[in-house]
């Protein structure tokens, strides 16, 4: 049994079927990058894993919890699934420190003092120890995204989901965010990353999944998918982006 197990997943908005029969498994400690053209359904798939999108049919199991079962306490499961968004979604009315300590304290995972210590450690880890008392409005995009990663890590999750974490960044800031993610991967975090950074995917991913038109078209080790893609849609996509 993998950390994340997706079986026969379908997702439609009205008559528009965005995900068509997805089967996928992520093992503990595995880093999976999902690539593919816009509208291929890769972000929707990621958002189905922590139920930000309701699944239409099929099953999503994370940490042995069946997320697609309405009886599952989704809040409990989400505590173990960190998520990082394309647009950061930091809470603008809270300081950087409060952004990070807010959920652990609110959910009684940690005392105020413990949460503060953890937060400072995490900020140090993402290179922003001096920004604890700043407000998100005064940070650059790259700094915001690093705080967002720290915020997700503060809940001590088993799995981290990244939804195009560098797409909204100026090019010179992409590196600092990818650096933090690379460190995280090397520490053994289970990660599912939707990304357009092919170089990063090639370097960091244990497995690359190529999606198109709501299907997983091809998946495998980075060297195989990037080096000798089998499917013609993969080939034509990679020709355009590489």
């Amino acid at each position: 049994m993998g950390k994340v197990q997706i079986s026969n997943l379908k997702k439609s908005y009205g008559s528009n079927e965005v995900l068509k029969d997805i089967n996928m498994k992520i093992d503990e400690g595995e880093v999976v990058c999902v690539i593919g053209p816009s509208g291929s359904g890769k972000s929707t798939l990621l958002r189905c894993v922590n139920k930000l999108e309701e699944v239409t049919a099929g099953e999503v199991i994370v940490d042995d919890y069946n997320i697609s079962d309405p009886k599952t306490d989704i809040n409990k499961v989400r505590e173990n699934i960190g998520m990082v968004f394309q647009h950061f979604n930091l809470f603008p009315h809270m300081s950087v420190l409060k952004n990070i300590t807010f959920a652990p304290v609110e959910l009684k995972k940690q005392s105020e003092k413990e949460a503060r210590e953890t937060a400072l450690k995490l900020l140090d880890r993402v290179g922003l120890a001096d920004k604890a008392d700043a407000f998100p409005g005064s940070l650059s995009g790259g700094q915001k995204q690093r705080v967002a990663i720290a915020r997700a890590l503060a809940m001590n999750p088993d799995v981290m989901l990244f939804d195009e974490p560098t797409s909204a960044l100026d090019p010179e800031m992409v590196g600092e965010v990818l650096g933090v993610m690379k460190d995280l991967a090397s520490e053994g975090m289970t990660m599912m990353i939707v990304t357009h950074e092919m170089g990063f995917a090639r370097e960091v991913a244990d497995r690359v999944v190529f999606m198109d038109g709501g299907y997983i078209v091809e998946e495998g080790e980075p060297e195989q998918v990037f080096g000798s893609p089998k499917h013609e849609r993969t080939i034509s996509f990679l020709e355009k982006v590489l």
Binding site: N50, L52, N75, K76, R78, E79, I81, G82, M83, F85, H87, N89, L90, F91, P92, H93, F102, A103, E106, L107, A148, R151, A152, M155
Partner: protein, 487 residues
Amino acid sequence: MKKSRFMWLSMAFLLFFAVCAGNLSQTATAQAGEGKTYSIGTDVTFAPFEFQQDGKYVGIDLDLMAAIAKDQNFKYEIRPLGFNAAVQGLQSNQLDGMIAGMSITDERKQTFDFSEPYYESGVVMAVRQDNTEVKSYEDLRGQRVAVKTGTEGYNFANSIKDKYGFTLVPFDDSVQMYEEVTTGNSVACFEDFPVVAYAIQKGVQLKTATEKESGAPYGFAVNKGENQELLQMFNKGLANVKASGEYDQIVSKYLGSTKPGEESTTPSAPVSKWKIVSDAIPALLKGLGMTLMYTIISLFFAFILGLIFGFMKVSPSKTARAIATVFVDIFRGIPLLVLGLFIYFGIPGALGFKMPLIVAAVLALSLNAGAYVTEIIRGGIQSIDKGQLEAARSLGLSHRTAMIKVIIPQAVKVMIPSFINQLVITLKDTSIMSAIGLIELTQSGKLIVANNYQSTVIYGMVAIMYLIVITILTKIADSIERRTRRG
């Protein structure tokens, strides 16, 4: 459900508040003896029969009522609603009786039971003091004539308007009607003789131009078939005070030696503007205080309604959204004046109970403002990026916690300017409730004008008071807004 319990609690609170406030403001004239207290409706601007003097209601009708109540030993309270509102209040059993210089006509007899006539009146035509052209009804051809709705003067003018070829311009109270003539917009007005005579005595620049028409006498009215014991007491008491000479004393107290039909047009000495202003200030300040109180109470409940329905509007439940939408559509769709009239006269009339004026006014204002506050809250919440809720939920927070700790603190900042706007609107809207007789700033002004006929000065003061208060509130609110934005 927590929400509905909260709603009931606030309703109870509303009633409690309103009853307390109601007791404070009613001008109860308690008499010795047991039994029920009758609510007696009257006009606000029908000097010398009823008008306000030094903050108290006085006049022939009121003194007579007091004398009769004392003679017959019953309790009553006076409700100065204005003539039309009092008629409606009587019809819907909000009132037990009505004394307001009300002519006994065949038409009214179909709806009301009248006492024995207590005053022989009659309609006269009045023109501006310097008018030498209009001497008879023939001279009115092609002209505008001011009348007061629902009065004998109106009925009479209406009955001859085609014969003499003039146009009617209807008003809701006598003062507005006089102003229409003294400013020259209309050439003449028709009104009961003693009323015009008294106004002229008080310095209104009019003169009577015709002999009075023998008209219907005034009577005390109850709703048809209701309160017959009150009617009988009135009749017995009236006979007694007439016999004792008290009746003549009351009439001559207000009309001097003037008997209907005789001329008495010597204006009293002109009063200085400053005297008018300084005399009016205490009553107007009191009115302003009431306006502020009604605004605050109404906005408090509007806020509770807005919170309940605003969150229903953004809730995931379709039913909740539908209920909230209906609430907003209804109370945003009904003009406040109509809502006030319906709540005060319509609902009690249909269901057969009495509603305190203050409850009706606060209810109407709260429901109206509540609909707008609902939309402000919905708009504020929906203006917050969807990603904020997603980020909070993805950390494992419940929808409720995410709303309270993440969405609302941000939404409130967006809402503040709209709340300030609503505060100003509701404060001004309390004046609309003067139509059902609520005593607030505008109504206080009307009452003073009804007595001293100085509409320019008094309404000018009323306007300035609104302006000052609203400007101050806006400035305070602006600085709060700036502070929260910085924070």
